[in-house]
């Protein structure tokens, strides 16, 4: 009689694990098909905090302007102050689960931070770091 709840709990946690970061394999495969080589979470971590001069003379920009250097911590939008939940799928189960959502935000955030699109290699490195 105790087995049913256990099976349910296992199924639920298994589902959550599959959802968190679920979009990653497909995305990484896509980046490799677009020319990227092996991904390196350390390279991603370095890029994550690399400061870029701001085009409008404001404070230097990096991914950690809005998301903290530690991807497991919650952040705050640098311009509006809006709270942002942690990006790590281990902390927030819905992260990196929807490829369209991830691509949308990478598009926006790379443009604002670096002033250009990220290359497939950079995207793969950054996502590997976020998933670490």
């Amino acid at each position: 009689m105790k087995t049913l709840p256990m099976i349910l709990a296992l199924a639920l946690s298994g589902g959550a694990l599959a959802a968190g970061g679920g979009a990653l394999p497909g995305l990484l495969a896509g980046y490799q098909a677009a020319g990227a080589t092996a991904f390196d979470a350390d390279r991603g971590a370095a890029l994550w905090v690399a400061a870029q001069p701001s085009p409008d003379g404001g404070p230097a920009r990096s991914c950690s302007s809005c998301h903290p250097a530690d991807q497991r911590q919650a952040g705050r939008h640098a311009r509006t102050g809006e709270p942002i939940e942690a990006l790590s799928p281990a902390v927030v189960a819905t992260r990196l689960s929807d490829p369209v959502e991830v691509e949308k935000w990478l598009g926006r955030n790379c443009k604002w931070t670096f002033g250009r699109e990220c290359t497939p290699q950079e995207k793969g490195d950054l996502l590997s770091f976020i998933n670490r």
């Binding site: 409008d56 509006t80 102050g81 809006e82 598009g107 926006r108 443009k111 604002w112």
Partner: protein, 377 residues
Amino acid sequence: MERRPIRTWDLPVRLLHLLLAGGVAAAWLSSQDARDLRVHVVAGLLVGLVLVLRAAWGLWGTEHARWAAFRVPWRAVRDHARGLLRGDAPRFQGHNPLATWAMLGGLSLLALVVLTGIGVQAGEEGTGLLAGRLDRDRGVALHGPHELLAWAVLGWLLLHLAGVAKESLRTAENLPLSMVHGRKRPEPGARPVPARVGAALSMLAVVALACAGPLRPDAEPAPAAVAPPALDPLYARECGDCHEAWHPSLLPARSWLLLMATQDDHFGEDLGLAPALAGQLQELLVLHAAELSPTEAAWRVARGTPPDQSPLRVTDTPAWREAHADLPEETFQSEPVRSRNRCEACHEDAATGAFAHRGIHPPDPGLPADPPPPEAP
């Protein structure tokens, strides 16, 4: 000759006088801050109810309370005024002729204040006795007259107090006190009036019932005319990640069209929304834009923004500037707010677009950002 004071004002007259004074004072005190609007409306309606009861008592009341006693010709008023100047005006058991006219003037002024107030409430808030029955622009147009009449009441009140003081001195009698205990020195031949306790208790019951029912301060009806429709969650999801999802009713449709047309340079961000999604969002925004929304806030935005302007910021609309003109800059800079466009920090109902008076809770700029930790015992 009997000189012992006799009852001149019956109990209902004194009770209604007290309620009227209280209602007018409450209405005045609650007229400055929009957040007290509910109290203001209740006080105003209470004044209205007292006026109705007083009018009825003019038909059935005792000698000096009756409308019959108020039928005083202009000639009598003029003669009394001349007498006052000469110093030989007679004394009266009830109101003197001048006071009678002053009473009629004051009661009429108050009635007008109440009526215009109900009109303003219907126009601006869409609530109250005339809700939905009065054109919005007409109701709002009554705001000026309502205030003017209220000032006239204040002026009248000063004259009333001066008159009472003068008459008290002239006749060597404490008239304010006589409006409490009801007794005045008798004129020759004057007879005491009955107290009419039963009528007074009935009136008190009517007022109490009204206060417990329709006038209860927290019984704010939310007619469909002021309740904004619930928003599609798609909007909150797509436009609520970088900042709060400002309600579409806060900008005119042309502003939203311009904002969506420039989504690749959205205050320095490239939103990069797929065309289909952008189209869907634009439709939502335009559907609930200021011109098409029933709230007072939306109506002010739609009316106050010149047709040749398409402000991209809610905080750039004349309606927003006007509503917040009295707030010091520190209130916006203080920690939990930090920016004027963080409506949610001060308006608990910002997400619904309602922006009701009751939902305004600006943080106190004098307070530290984080409350100090409780002292160890």
